[in-house]
Symmetry: D2
Subunit: 117 residues, 4 copies
Amino acid sequence: MKKNNIAELMKEILKFRDNRDWKQFHDPKNLAEAIAIESGELLEHFLWKTPEQSREISKEKREKLAAEIADILIFSMLFAHETGVDIEKAILDKIRHNETRYPVDKAKGSAKKYTDL
Amino acid sequence: MKKNNIAELMKEILKFRDNRDWKQFHDPKNLAEAIAIESGELLEHFLWKTPEQSREISKEKREKLAAEIADILIFSMLFAHETGVDIEKAILDKIRHNETRYPVDKAKGSAKKYTDL
Amino acid sequence: MKKNNIAELMKEILKFRDNRDWKQFHDPKNLAEAIAIESGELLEHFLWKTPEQSREISKEKREKLAAEIADILIFSMLFAHETGVDIEKAILDKIRHNETRYPVDKAKGSAKKYTDL
Amino acid sequence: MKKNNIAELMKEILKFRDNRDWKQFHDPKNLAEAIAIESGELLEHFLWKTPEQSREISKEKREKLAAEIADILIFSMLFAHETGVDIEKAILDKIRHNETRYPVDKAKGSAKKYTDL
């Protein structure tokens, strides 16, 4: 039987947080800061690299990237929790919204922003 | 029956991407940039606000935040996909790692970084 | 006699760069990444802090902040240099532009974005 | 006679701020957020672009970039002002520090971080 892994991961994350009494620090402003900080750390792995070089990922590098993206995901999940956002619904809604902003016939193969399509 | 919603969401995201032939743009460097850009947009919702004000979230505001956090999550999932990172494992590994860096007896109620505990 | 310190600092920065043959890495995309990464490092100094706590700056902390803001300024100056932007003119133009977006009678004492004034 | 343009620009920036009674919002935490947000906006101009494409800057694009980099510089100057950092000294100190971290004979032509040299 498959499992609802977003809900299970959220449970683990909240347990970790509550064991340390950290909810008090997790207002949306601070969590949004944490996400921005961690996204800067992720980006640093690719600074001065070409796009092609960024695709060459050793096993050791992959482990570091996994740790960085996990930080972003964990803080994003905490943010969603604190702001009452349903993660699954938010992602599906955004895909639906992007389907209207980026219709296949116009957006195919193009990196333009929807405002320029 | 519950579902593996990370895998199902990933399938939706990749379908959206492939219909538009966008994999070509999704090198890790660009995806990390996208995450950083979206995290700045999320943060802008709280600029000049106090932490307390950041907790006051109207229904209208929640919808905007949901759209922003969805962008971060979608690009993070695409990043994990392109770099071969298992999202569920990465999050669980990071929680385990943080348990050693932030032992309950030292970290409880403290906002200090592990290097200062 | 006073000096044009932006021009003098730029000269120092370019000398440092050219001695290391680094111009080749300084395309605008990479420089913009560098600015974003350094701004995340600056922000980390205030994570989990209240706005009031962020105003309490010891001598030791001030030196760390000086080093972070210097990174942002240096990369911003290199970015301006590579993209042909006149720093002094850009800042004065932006102040003039903001004067029209934030007229004193509407903006005084308000933290609202110009789109909401 | 040349002029001390950092001091003159700072005077303009503070005049703009004080006319609007905005010092109250300019704690270091909020200013660091503002820098991070603006740096994300700058970066967005280069998203999905190759480094080569990022070097192709039309007159229209240059004006947009000038406005973005001005935002970053203005908030950085306000940050320095609020935290008591001397901008000119901070930049020169950082260049001196980088000269020891990146000696010419090791760093020439290399994009490696000093920790990997």
